[in-house]
Subunit: 128 residues, 2 copies
DNA sequence: CTACGTGCAAAGGTTTTGCAACATT
DNA sequence: AATGTTGCAAAACCTTTGCACGTAG
């Protein structure tokens, strides 16, 4: 396989340095363009699709109208500021006990869950 | 105000009879067309937008790439079958205790949350 | 006449794909 | 030559809006 994959490599690097979480494709695109000088949206999209298929990253949907992606790691939840859209991680899983309850209530075999809290981040709460 | 609003009236009725939950606009559109003979997608969309603004229904996003809507009632969670997409309600809120924990961990003022469980419904689990 | 619901068409935004060009093995 | 990455363009999908028509008040 060909070696040079500057766009894909840069996208992978951005995830792996973990300076930031819950990337949108636009955010990745902007950042990769800053790093490489230029890059096409579709190339970033394909890089993300490939990394997702490989299991390096997970797709998350916070109900914003577009997807976000983050390095696959320990399961955690997210909280999004209703005012500015900032996303933070909730560094624990608050639902580990709930799956059995949900399963007995609905009959579904629970395999996964995703939680998005909404609220106000410190800055926006202070402003309000 | 003019009385006849067949599309809007039918959309409202579909929500209020509560025979079904978590309607997508396409599902509403198909059902309204069956009831009335014809109806335009945008009319259904506007009816849903109006009902949402009036507070009769809530918009929910289950990460499917399109919105769903349901009658506003007691807060509850959802579980979606990973195989067939069927959506059921989890008739309790499993997170009422978690908000304080999340708030102390992230500093966000928690105002809301939405949870989507994934798994397999009875039929799909039986087939697998 | 005025107000409003509807249908039709089109725009807007995000996601996805087809294809040709290009570089590396 | 063969494979795989990229750029460009366009399609696909869902959401949203502009506008004209028709109807009830």
């Amino acid at each position: 396989m060909p070696r040079p994959s500057p766009v894909t490599d840069e996208v992978r690097r951005l995830f792996e340095i973990q300076e930031r979480h819950a990337w949108s494709i636009d955010e990745l695109h902007d950042t990769v363009r800053s790093s490489l000088g230029s890059a096409d949206y579709s190339s970033v999209f394909r890089a993300v699709s490939m990394l997702e298929k490989q299991g390096l990253i997970d797709r998350i949907d916070l109900g914003e109208g577009h997807a976000r992606f983050e390095l696959r790691d320990d399961h955690h939840e997210h909280i999004r500021c209703d005012s500015c859209g900032r996303v933070a991680e909730v560094p624990v899983c608050v639902l580990d006990d709930a799956a059995a309850q949900v399963q007995s209530l609905t009959g579904y075999r629970v395999l996964s869950h995703q939680v998005v809290f909404g609220g106000l981040c410190r800055e926006c709460a202070a402003r309000a």
